[in-house]
Assembly symmetry: C2
Amino acid sequence: MDTSQLLKGVLDLAVLAVLKDEDGYGYDVLRRLRHGGMDEVGDASVYGTLRRLYRAGYLTSYVVPSDEGPHRKYYGMNDAGRERLVESEKAWRAFAETLDGILRKGAAA
Amino acid sequence: MDTSQLLKGVLDLAVLAVLKDEDGYGYDVLRRLRHGGMDEVGDASVYGTLRRLYRAGYLTSYVVPSDEGPHRKYYGMNDAGRERLVESEKAWRAFAETLDGILRKGAAA
DNA sequence: CGCGGTAGTGCGCAATGCGCAATAGTGTCC
DNA sequence: GGACACTATTGCGCATTGCGCACTACCGCG
Protein backbone atom coordinates (compact mmCIF):
# COMPACT_ATOMS: atom_id res chain seq x y z
CA MET A 1 0.00 0.00 0.00
CA ASP A 2 1.18 3.46 -0.76
CA THR A 3 0.07 5.92 1.85
CA SER A 4 1.99 8.78 0.30
CA GLN A 5 -1.03 10.04 -1.60
CA LEU A 6 -3.03 10.21 1.59
CA LEU A 7 -0.56 12.73 2.90
CA LYS A 8 -1.29 15.22 0.16
CA GLY A 9 -2.82 18.34 1.57
CA VAL A 10 -2.64 16.96 5.07
CA LEU A 11 1.04 17.18 5.76
CA ASP A 12 0.62 20.95 6.09
CA LEU A 13 -1.92 20.34 8.78
CA ALA A 14 0.21 17.81 10.60
CA VAL A 15 3.25 20.06 10.57
CA LEU A 16 1.27 23.02 11.86
CA ALA A 17 -0.23 20.88 14.59
CA VAL A 18 3.18 19.72 15.69
CA LEU A 19 4.47 23.28 15.86
CA LYS A 20 1.46 24.62 17.68
CA ASP A 21 2.78 24.45 21.21
CA GLU A 22 6.49 24.53 20.62
CA ASP A 23 8.87 25.83 17.99
CA GLY A 24 10.88 23.22 16.22
CA TYR A 25 13.49 22.73 13.54
CA GLY A 26 13.06 20.52 10.51
CA TYR A 27 14.76 17.42 11.71
CA ASP A 28 12.88 17.65 14.98
CA VAL A 29 9.53 18.14 13.29
CA LEU A 30 10.30 15.05 11.28
CA ARG A 31 10.91 13.10 14.46
CA ARG A 32 7.72 14.37 16.05
CA LEU A 33 5.67 13.28 13.06
CA ARG A 34 7.34 9.88 12.86
CA HIS A 35 6.88 9.43 16.55
CA GLY A 36 3.24 10.41 16.13
CA GLY A 37 2.68 7.48 13.80
CA MET A 38 3.61 8.90 10.41
CA ASP A 39 6.47 6.49 10.07
CA GLU A 40 6.85 6.70 6.32
CA VAL A 41 6.96 10.43 5.90
CA GLY A 42 10.04 11.46 3.94
CA ASP A 43 12.50 14.01 5.23
CA ALA A 44 12.43 16.04 2.03
CA SER A 45 8.67 16.29 2.32
CA VAL A 46 8.87 17.83 5.77
CA TYR A 47 11.63 20.26 4.86
CA GLY A 48 9.71 21.21 1.74
CA THR A 49 6.50 21.71 3.65
CA LEU A 50 8.20 23.91 6.22
CA ARG A 51 9.70 26.06 3.50
CA ARG A 52 6.37 26.27 1.72
CA LEU A 53 4.48 27.25 4.86
CA TYR A 54 7.14 29.81 5.66
CA ARG A 55 7.01 31.28 2.18
CA ALA A 56 3.23 31.46 2.44
CA GLY A 57 3.53 33.48 5.64
CA TYR A 58 2.28 30.91 8.11
CA LEU A 59 5.51 30.44 9.98
CA THR A 60 8.35 32.48 11.40
CA SER A 61 11.89 31.27 11.09
CA TYR A 62 15.22 31.77 12.84
CA VAL A 63 18.50 29.98 12.72
CA VAL A 64 20.19 28.72 15.83
CA PRO A 65 23.75 27.43 15.72
CA SER A 66 24.27 24.22 17.61
CA ASP A 67 27.25 23.11 19.62
CA GLU A 68 26.73 19.54 18.73
CA GLY A 69 26.08 19.55 15.00
CA PRO A 70 25.02 21.73 12.09
CA HIS A 71 22.90 24.83 12.58
CA ARG A 72 19.21 24.38 13.17
CA LYS A 73 16.51 26.33 11.40
CA TYR A 74 13.70 26.78 13.84
CA TYR A 75 10.15 27.45 12.75
CA GLY A 76 7.39 28.91 14.86
CA MET A 77 3.74 29.80 14.43
CA ASN A 78 2.41 33.29 13.87
CA ASP A 79 -1.22 34.41 13.89
CA ALA A 80 -1.74 33.50 10.24
CA GLY A 81 -0.40 30.05 10.97
CA ARG A 82 -2.65 29.57 13.93
CA GLU A 83 -5.63 30.64 11.89
CA ARG A 84 -4.60 28.36 9.10
CA LEU A 85 -4.30 25.47 11.53
CA VAL A 86 -7.81 26.00 12.81
CA GLU A 87 -9.24 26.21 9.31
CA SER A 88 -7.32 23.24 8.02
CA GLU A 89 -8.37 21.16 10.96
CA LYS A 90 -11.98 22.09 10.36
CA ALA A 91 -11.67 21.24 6.67
CA TRP A 92 -10.05 17.94 7.55
CA ARG A 93 -12.76 16.93 9.99
CA ALA A 94 -15.51 17.86 7.55
CA PHE A 95 -13.82 15.96 4.79
CA ALA A 96 -13.20 12.88 6.91
CA GLU A 97 -16.83 12.86 7.95
CA THR A 98 -17.99 13.14 4.36
CA LEU A 99 -15.84 10.25 3.29
CA ASP A 100 -16.95 8.14 6.21
CA GLY A 101 -20.51 8.81 5.17
CA ILE A 102 -19.84 7.61 1.65
CA LEU A 103 -18.05 4.53 2.95
CA ARG A 104 -20.98 3.68 5.18
CA LYS A 105 -23.76 3.97 2.71
CA GLY A 106 -22.12 2.97 -0.58
CA ALA A 107 -24.40 3.56 -3.55
CA ALA A 108 -27.49 3.90 -1.41
CA ALA A 109 -29.48 7.05 -2.01
CA MET B 1 -9.91 26.60 1.28
CA ASP B 2 -8.87 24.16 -1.32
CA THR B 3 -10.11 20.69 -0.57
CA SER B 4 -8.80 19.28 -3.82
CA GLN B 5 -5.57 18.14 -2.20
CA LEU B 6 -7.45 16.21 0.44
CA LEU B 7 -8.97 14.10 -2.30
CA LYS B 8 -5.63 12.77 -3.43
CA GLY B 9 -5.41 9.08 -2.92
CA VAL B 10 -8.89 8.96 -1.50
CA LEU B 11 -10.96 9.44 -4.59
CA ASP B 12 -10.15 5.88 -5.57
CA LEU B 13 -11.59 4.72 -2.32
CA ALA B 14 -14.71 6.85 -2.65
CA VAL B 15 -15.36 5.65 -6.18
CA LEU B 16 -14.92 2.02 -5.20
CA ALA B 17 -17.23 2.48 -2.25
CA VAL B 18 -19.90 3.99 -4.43
CA LEU B 19 -19.69 1.10 -6.88
CA LYS B 20 -19.68 -1.59 -4.23
CA ASP B 21 -23.38 -2.43 -4.25
CA GLU B 22 -24.37 -1.30 -7.69
CA ASP B 23 -22.74 -0.83 -11.07
CA GLY B 24 -22.67 2.70 -12.34
CA TYR B 25 -21.51 4.84 -15.24
CA GLY B 26 -19.26 7.84 -14.91
CA TYR B 27 -21.80 10.58 -14.82
CA ASP B 28 -23.82 8.65 -12.30
CA VAL B 29 -20.83 7.97 -10.07
CA LEU B 30 -20.17 11.67 -10.18
CA ARG B 31 -23.70 12.35 -8.98
CA ARG B 32 -23.45 9.78 -6.22
CA LEU B 33 -20.27 11.36 -4.91
CA ARG B 34 -21.65 14.89 -5.13
CA HIS B 35 -24.80 13.74 -3.43
CA GLY B 36 -22.68 12.10 -0.76
CA GLY B 37 -21.15 15.44 0.14
CA MET B 38 -18.23 15.71 -2.23
CA ASP B 39 -19.74 18.73 -3.87
CA GLU B 40 -16.57 20.07 -5.43
CA VAL B 41 -15.29 16.94 -7.09
CA GLY B 42 -14.59 17.58 -10.77
CA ASP B 43 -16.07 15.46 -13.52
CA ALA B 44 -12.72 14.87 -15.19
CA SER B 45 -11.36 13.54 -11.92
CA VAL B 46 -14.06 10.92 -11.65
CA TYR B 47 -13.78 9.83 -15.26
CA GLY B 48 -10.04 9.67 -14.89
CA THR B 49 -10.25 7.66 -11.72
CA LEU B 50 -12.64 5.18 -13.27
CA ARG B 51 -10.36 4.69 -16.25
CA ARG B 52 -7.37 4.30 -13.96
CA LEU B 53 -9.08 1.76 -11.75
CA TYR B 54 -10.25 -0.13 -14.82
CA ARG B 55 -6.77 -0.15 -16.32
CA ALA B 56 -5.41 -1.39 -13.01
CA GLY B 57 -7.82 -4.31 -13.11
CA TYR B 58 -10.11 -3.33 -10.26
CA LEU B 59 -13.21 -2.75 -12.34
CA THR B 60 -15.11 -4.36 -15.17
CA SER B 61 -16.63 -2.24 -17.89
CA TYR B 62 -19.43 -2.47 -20.44
CA VAL B 63 -21.14 0.05 -22.66
CA VAL B 64 -24.90 0.44 -22.67
CA PRO B 65 -26.66 2.60 -25.26
CA SER B 66 -29.26 4.90 -23.84
CA ASP B 67 -32.59 6.00 -25.31
CA GLU B 68 -32.34 9.37 -23.74
CA GLY B 69 -28.84 10.55 -24.42
CA PRO B 70 -25.35 9.39 -25.29
CA HIS B 71 -24.14 5.88 -24.49
CA ARG B 72 -23.20 5.04 -20.95
CA LYS B 73 -20.06 3.26 -19.91
CA TYR B 74 -20.89 1.19 -16.89
CA TYR B 75 -18.31 0.07 -14.40
CA GLY B 76 -18.64 -2.74 -11.91
CA MET B 77 -16.52 -4.33 -9.22
CA ASN B 78 -14.60 -7.56 -9.55
CA ASP B 79 -12.83 -9.51 -6.84
CA ALA B 80 -9.65 -7.46 -7.12
CA GLY B 81 -11.70 -4.30 -6.74
CA ARG B 82 -13.47 -5.60 -3.68
CA GLU B 83 -10.18 -6.56 -2.12
CA ARG B 84 -8.72 -3.20 -2.98
CA LEU B 85 -11.71 -1.48 -1.40
CA VAL B 86 -11.23 -3.35 1.85
CA GLU B 87 -7.54 -2.58 1.96
CA SER B 88 -7.95 1.06 1.04
CA GLU B 89 -10.60 1.51 3.65
CA LYS B 90 -8.35 -0.02 6.24
CA ALA B 91 -5.47 2.24 5.19
CA TRP B 92 -7.75 5.23 5.33
CA ARG B 93 -9.00 4.51 8.82
CA ALA B 94 -5.50 3.91 10.12
CA PHE B 95 -4.28 7.09 8.55
CA ALA B 96 -7.18 9.16 9.83
CA GLU B 97 -6.59 7.85 13.31
CA THR B 98 -2.90 8.67 13.15
CA LEU B 99 -3.60 12.21 12.05
CA ASP B 100 -6.25 12.67 14.71
CA GLY B 101 -3.70 11.56 17.24
CA ILE B 102 -1.21 14.15 16.08
CA LEU B 103 -3.88 16.83 16.09
CA ARG B 104 -4.82 15.97 19.63
CA LYS B 105 -1.44 15.96 21.21
CA GLY B 106 0.46 18.55 19.18
CA ALA B 107 4.14 18.59 20.05
CA ALA B 108 3.65 16.64 23.25
CA ALA B 109 5.83 13.59 23.59
C1' DC C 1 40.67 9.22 8.91
C1' DG C 2 36.38 7.13 7.99
C1' DC C 3 31.75 6.38 9.65
C1' DG C 4 27.37 7.38 11.56
C1' DG C 5 24.13 10.59 13.29
C1' DT C 6 22.47 15.31 12.82
C1' DA C 7 20.77 19.08 9.74
C1' DG C 8 19.63 21.43 5.61
C1' DT C 9 19.17 22.44 0.35
C1' DG C 10 18.22 21.46 -4.43
C1' DC C 11 16.80 18.66 -8.49
C1' DG C 12 13.89 16.10 -11.03
C1' DC C 13 10.19 12.67 -10.99
C1' DA C 14 5.57 10.62 -10.39
C1' DA C 15 0.93 10.70 -9.09
C1' DT C 16 -3.36 12.76 -9.46
C1' DG C 17 -7.15 16.21 -9.33
C1' DC C 18 -8.77 20.00 -12.33
C1' DG C 19 -10.12 23.29 -16.00
C1' DC C 20 -11.29 23.44 -20.55
C1' DA C 21 -12.42 22.10 -25.14
C1' DA C 22 -14.40 18.89 -28.20
C1' DT C 23 -17.80 15.45 -29.54
C1' DA C 24 -22.39 13.75 -29.45
C1' DG C 25 -27.12 12.50 -28.42
C1' DT C 26 -31.80 14.18 -26.66
C1' DG C 27 -35.37 17.32 -25.46
C1' DT C 28 -37.22 22.16 -24.86
C1' DC C 29 -38.40 26.75 -25.75
C1' DC C 30 -38.94 30.53 -28.86
C1' DG D 1 -35.44 25.27 -37.29
C1' DG D 2 -32.07 27.13 -34.27
C1' DA D 3 -30.17 28.26 -29.79
C1' DC D 4 -29.67 26.23 -25.55
C1' DA D 5 -29.41 23.02 -21.69
C1' DC D 6 -28.68 18.48 -19.89
C1' DT D 7 -26.54 14.06 -20.34
C1' DA D 8 -22.15 11.48 -21.20
C1' DT D 9 -17.37 10.63 -22.44
C1' DT D 10 -12.60 11.63 -23.94
C1' DG D 11 -8.23 14.04 -24.19
C1' DC D 12 -4.82 17.73 -23.19
C1' DG D 13 -2.00 20.25 -20.43
C1' DC D 14 -1.31 22.32 -15.90
C1' DA D 15 -0.47 22.79 -10.79
C1' DT D 16 0.40 20.83 -6.50
C1' DT D 17 2.99 18.12 -3.64
C1' DG D 18 5.35 14.06 -1.60
C1' DC D 19 9.60 11.45 -2.53
C1' DG D 20 14.19 9.61 -3.72
C1' DC D 21 18.68 10.93 -4.21
C1' DA D 22 22.78 13.54 -4.11
C1' DC D 23 25.42 16.95 -1.94
C1' DT D 24 27.17 19.96 1.75
C1' DA D 25 28.43 20.34 6.44
C1' DC D 26 29.20 19.76 11.36
C1' DC D 27 30.22 16.82 15.28
C1' DG D 28 32.15 12.79 18.07
C1' DC D 29 33.96 8.14 18.25
C1' DG D 30 36.86 4.27 17.25
